[in-house]
């Protein structure tokens, strides 16, 4: 029994080896087309329909796949190989089959402002050389960028032009001009993008809103007013419109140590105006005065019955003319005394 099993095992091993060796070679009617770049094998052989419909179609498909894969692997082995870290690696060539696009093709971008203008004027793009001969350094340097040929910023001497202020910092002026150019370039680039994507860019805080509030309308009016070549200097006001004095965000104050005398004068003028605005006739005081006079007169009338007649003639007292609300304070001696004011005869 053991000998039988040993024989069986040996025979089996022999059969397996033979199968393996046989498996490398595959017979096909038509040769396969290979694209080793994509690891693609294209089999144009006919498939027997009967075999597909058979019960044993799984086995048929399995063997078909195995044969084709074997042929592909044979093809890969034909490629140049190299050894990387003790692993044999085959170098795949470039793929020959074209695969379709994964995503849809990009739409053409609308031309930028410059491109529109160039097309209009017929300006062609001139190809410029990357390197320019730098006389100063006597070598070829790039046209722009790091270590460029004519670098403005590296200049250590700037002549002051004739019509410029001698105290002006020319270096700072140059830097500022560059910053402004960079900012303007960036702004134009963003505007181009906005135009391309049809995004509405609000100009100066005027984002389009369906219902504008009073403040927003006023702001829009102001901006429209200064949107002329002379920045609104010669725009007339509407009949009841007032020119807004502080249009900027920053409030402007008088200088800390200005002209003291003019400041004083302004304050005095302000006081004068305030005085003139105060009513000259203080109504309550006038009413009180009138009431007091009437009380006096009625008291005198009552006394008339008892007192002498001549007293009436001596009634002329000092008339204290009170002008408006500026009552000068008089200090009475005691609390309970009534004011001894005698009015002149009316």
């Amino acid at each position: 029994m053991a000998s039988c099993s040993i024989e069986d095992v040996l025979a089996k091993a022999e059969r397996d080896e033979a199968e393996k060796r046989k498996g490398i070679t595959v017979n096909k009617d038509l040769d396969l087309e290979f694209d080793p770049g994509h690891l693609l094998a294209f089999d144009k052989n006919r498939i027997d329909n009967r075999e597909l419909k058979d019960i044993k179609r799984e086995d048929f498909l399995h063997s078909l796949a195995r044969d084709n894969t074997q042929l592909l692997v044979n093809e890969i082995w034909k490629l140049p190989t190299e050894r990387i870290e003790e692993v044999i690696v085959a170098k795949l060539p470039d793929p020959t089959t074209l695969l379709p696009r994964q995503k849809p093709a990009p739409k053409p971008k609308p031309p930028t402002k410059w491109e529109q203008f160039a097309k209009l004027k017929g300006i062609q793009k001139k190809k410029k050389t990357n390197l320019v001969w730098d006389e100063v350094h006597k070598e070829w340097r790039r046209r722009w960028g790091y270590k460029r040929a004519k670098d403005d910023t590296k200049e250590w001497l700037i002549e002051v032009p004739e019509n410029a202020d001698p105290n002006e910092n020319q270096f700072a002026k140059r830097n500022k001009a560059k910053k402004e150019r960079v900012a303007r370039n960036e702004y134009n680039r963003l505007k181009n993008i906005a135009r391309a994507q049809k995004i509405k860019v609000p100009g100066m805080g005027l984002a389009p809103t369906p219902q504008q509030s009073k403040a927003e309308l006023a702001q829009a009016v102001n901006i429209a007013k200064i949107s002329t070549a002379s920045v609104g200097k010669f725009q007339d006001n509407l009949p009841k419109e007032k020119t807004p004095k502080n249009t900027g965000k920053k409030r402007k104050f008088q200088p800390l140590i200005g002209d003291f005398s003019s400041e004083k004068q302004k304050q005095l003028d302000l006081l004068k105006v305030m005085d003139s605005k105060k009513p000259r006739l203080n109504v309550t005081k006038a009413v009180n005065k009138q009431m007091r006079e009437e009380d006096m007169e009625s008291r005198q009338k009552n006394k008339k019955g008892f007192g002498k007649k001549g007293r009436k003639g001596n009634m002329s007292g000092k008339g204290k003319g009170k002008a408006g609300g500026k009552g000068k304070g008089k200090v009475p001696k005691g609390k309970g005394r009534k004011p001894q004011m005698k009015q002149g005869k009316r």
């Binding site: 800390l256 200005g258 004083k264 302000l270 203080n282």
Partner: protein, 180 residues
């Protein structure tokens, strides 16, 4: 620190004129030197130009106070007069109120003045007129607003308020931190 704008000056003068009337001119136009008002951290300071020029050497965040503080502008831009202005209000006051020795303490502690504590009052004081409060020995104690006219003061009962308290010298101790 900056000078006051027109609106701020107007608000301040209106408040001051309630207490000293047209004598504000004497504050602005002084024979013994140029004095000016400046605003710093919402407070109005009154100083001579010499002091002002010295104060410009101090940075804004380090400057605490200059000259005398007259008052401050609240968040809603109303002007509020402080007790520190008393030295300038007292000599020019138009309407004065004298307080009896008994209720001096009550006033200095922040209470209103009742008729029982009233010693004297200037003639012809209108209602809600700004007044300066003195002790019987003519020491200025603070200022307030007359609750009743002089005439009415004579007639009302002793417990009713005649002067509303606005500021008193006790505030120097009570609100030490906020006075600057």
């Amino acid at each position: 620190m900056r000078p006051l704008t027109d609106e701020e000056t107007k608000a301040m003068f209106e408040k001051l004129s309630k207490y000293i009337g047209e004598n504000i001119k004497l504050l602005i136009d002084r024979p013994d030197g140029t004095y000016c008002f400046r605003l710093h951290n919402d407070r109005v300071y009154y100083m001579s130009e010499k002091i002002l020029k010295l104060a410009t050497n101090i940075s804004r965040d380090k400057l605490v106070s200059v000259g005398t503080c007259f008052g401050k502008f609240t968040k809603t831009h109303k002007f509020r007069l402080h007790i520190t202005a008393l030295d300038f209000l007292a000599p020019y006051a138009k309407f004065k109120v004298w307080v009896k020795p008994g209720s001096e303490q009550s006033f200095v502690y922040g209470n209103h003045i009742t008729k029982s504590g009233l010693g004297r009052i200037t003639e012809n004081t209108a209602q809600y007129q700004g007044v300066v409060v003195y002790s019987m020995s003519d020491v200025p104690l603070g200022f307030g607003v007359a609750a009743k006219t002089t005439q009415e003061c004579r007639r009302v009962d002793p417990m009713s308020i005649v002067v509303f308290h606005q500021a008193d010298i006790g505030e120097y101790i009570r609100s030490e931190d906020t006075l600057t």
